[in-house]
Symmetry: C2
Subunit: 316 residues, 2 copies
């Protein structure tokens, strides 16, 4: 029996899935990434967890055909992470080499957003679309772009970084080194920045009773009809529409899929986008466009990373 | 002997090239488009001109294997122009059907900017690059995007329209129906708009002596060291860098090629872009990026359109 492993390495948690060649998830689990302990430690613990999962499945890890690994940051040649995004593992970190040495299995590495995109394209909301853009909205925002059924990687593994397009005209510095990046107003953090600005000018009892405001609080209050929350969400959706309109004018896709943590509130966000998008995208590209919520949720990463290795092994 | 024809239909002039299968131009010519006389008239005159050119070459038009036709506007299925951009020939105009009926030859239609891009990619400055963006700057601005050696078309033939991304924050209406489109400050017309603004606040004798200011006047004065011209060109290049930075963050290409009428001043513009681009594009995508001037000039359109039909006939 041929078995494949998908690993979705995140800043806080790492998800692990074990799949057969029919893309059926036999087991899934999660461990803390604890990247500050160094890559050797993290990848050794991931590999120990995989072996433990195999034991529980009464399977031998000799059956592993390969491992697909998703990781944040620009990935080139399915092996090297060019810039340390969320980890202090240094630039040009060869994730493939380290994990192959520890696991003695073939490892294919890809950027995490692109794996979510591959997952949604092969199994989820973007299935049957040849030209799709998947947008995970989490701490940051970026896009996985599928053109003619192929994922866009770019020369340096940096395609899809539309969150760092300068759109805000406010003179705010972004962590990436540029200024006024869309992401600053258009992510889980971005909606909090908008909330700060709105709440500076608006007294709202329901907001002031919250200790540590997070994105989900805002969407909860929105659902309860809170007017301040409606205003914040409206500004957020206007900014997001600016970014999506830009992607549409450049790529002219068939479908936009919202994913990531914030996509739990995708219905609200899609409504907001439909209100604002016509201001930023050419009519011809909007007439037949679908805007959808992701289907795979948390599983997109492990499905995408394992499909990378399964397709490679099957020669697809 | 197999002969191919490339036609580059422009708002004012239509260029015609006659090529052999080795992409050698045997003859080229140009006629007025006169689109207001209707498509039947225009295509009949183009076909008469082609026959005349064949006579001069002592060739029989029976040798024509096919015709490649470049035309402004979003083209789908290599046949239909979805929106009338520069002509009053109506939406969903079937250029292939009309020209095939008149010429009795196979016709393949594509958007003019994409054909310039295909030309520069196959024979010009973008040759040997798998991921390239060609930007013709003329009356308007848009981009031809090559990814993995394939041209991006988009679902509705509208990919590459980065000139209509809302970037200016000035509340100016664009002819496309949107507002604040980059093109308004970033084309042959755009540089005149910038000049208007600058000259409102600056008395400049050398400028006030020009009757009908055109883009080339500004670049000429720039070359003569005129400070006002330098200011105008600097603002133009800053805006252009904003647009190119956006394309780079989304596509992460290997090369950017400047083409179109304004590219006669490409050396000046490239210098300006290099000054401003670092503000708008992620460093990782800039490290290995080349910014080049087009090589084919006016011939890009007929080379691109004929290569479309030559490659089709050869099964490439």
């Amino acid at each position: 029996m041929k078995i494949y492993v998908g690993v979705d390495l995140g800043g806080t948690n790492t998800k692990i899935g074990i799949l057969n060649g029919n893309f059926e998830i036999l087991a899934e689990s999660s461990i803390k990434t604890l990247s500050q302990q160094g890559p050797e430690d993290t990848f050794t613990r991931i590999w120990e967890k995989i072996k433990e999962m195999f034991k529980e499945l009464n399977l031998n890890e000799d059956n592993i055909e390969g491992i697909g690994l998703g990781i944040p940051g620009p990935v080139v040649n399915n092996s090297i992470v060019k810039i340390a995004a969320n980890f202090s593992w240094g630039n040009n970190f060869n994730a493939k080499e380290v994990f192959e040495r520890i696991s003695k299995k073939q490892v294919i590495v890809e950027n995490d957003v692109r794996l979510i995109t591959i997952g949604e394209h092969q199994f989820g909301a973007a299935k049957n679309y040849s030209n799709a853009i998947v947008i995970p909205i989490g701490t940051g925002i970026s896009a996985g772009i599928i053109v003619n059924n192929m994922i866009l990687t770019g020369r340096d593994g940096a395609a899809g970084e539309f969150g760092h397009v300068s759109l805000l005209n406010k003179g705010i510095k972004c962590g990436c080194g540029l200024s006024d990046c869309l992401e600053l107003n258009c992510s889980a953090r971005g909606i909090l920045r908008i909330a700060d600005e709105v709440l500076d000018n608006t007294k709202d009892i329901e907001f002031s009773s919250i200790d540590n405001l997070e994105a989900y609080h805002i969407f909860n209050l929105y659902n309860q009809g809170n007017e301040t929350a409606k205003k914040i969400v409206d500004i957020f959706c206007d900014n997001l529409s600016k970014g999506i309109g830009m992607l549409i004018n450049i790529i002219n896709p068939e479908v936009i899929v919202l994913a990531g943590g914030v996509s739990k509130s995708a219905d609200i966000i899609i409504e907001g986008i439909k209100k604002h998008l016509h201001k930023y995208a050419l009519g011809i590209s909007l007439d037949n466009l679908n805007i959808l919520k992701c289907k795979l949720g948390d599983k997109a990463g492990i499905l995408g990373s394992s499909s990378l290795i399964i397709n490679k092994k099957k020669g697809n």
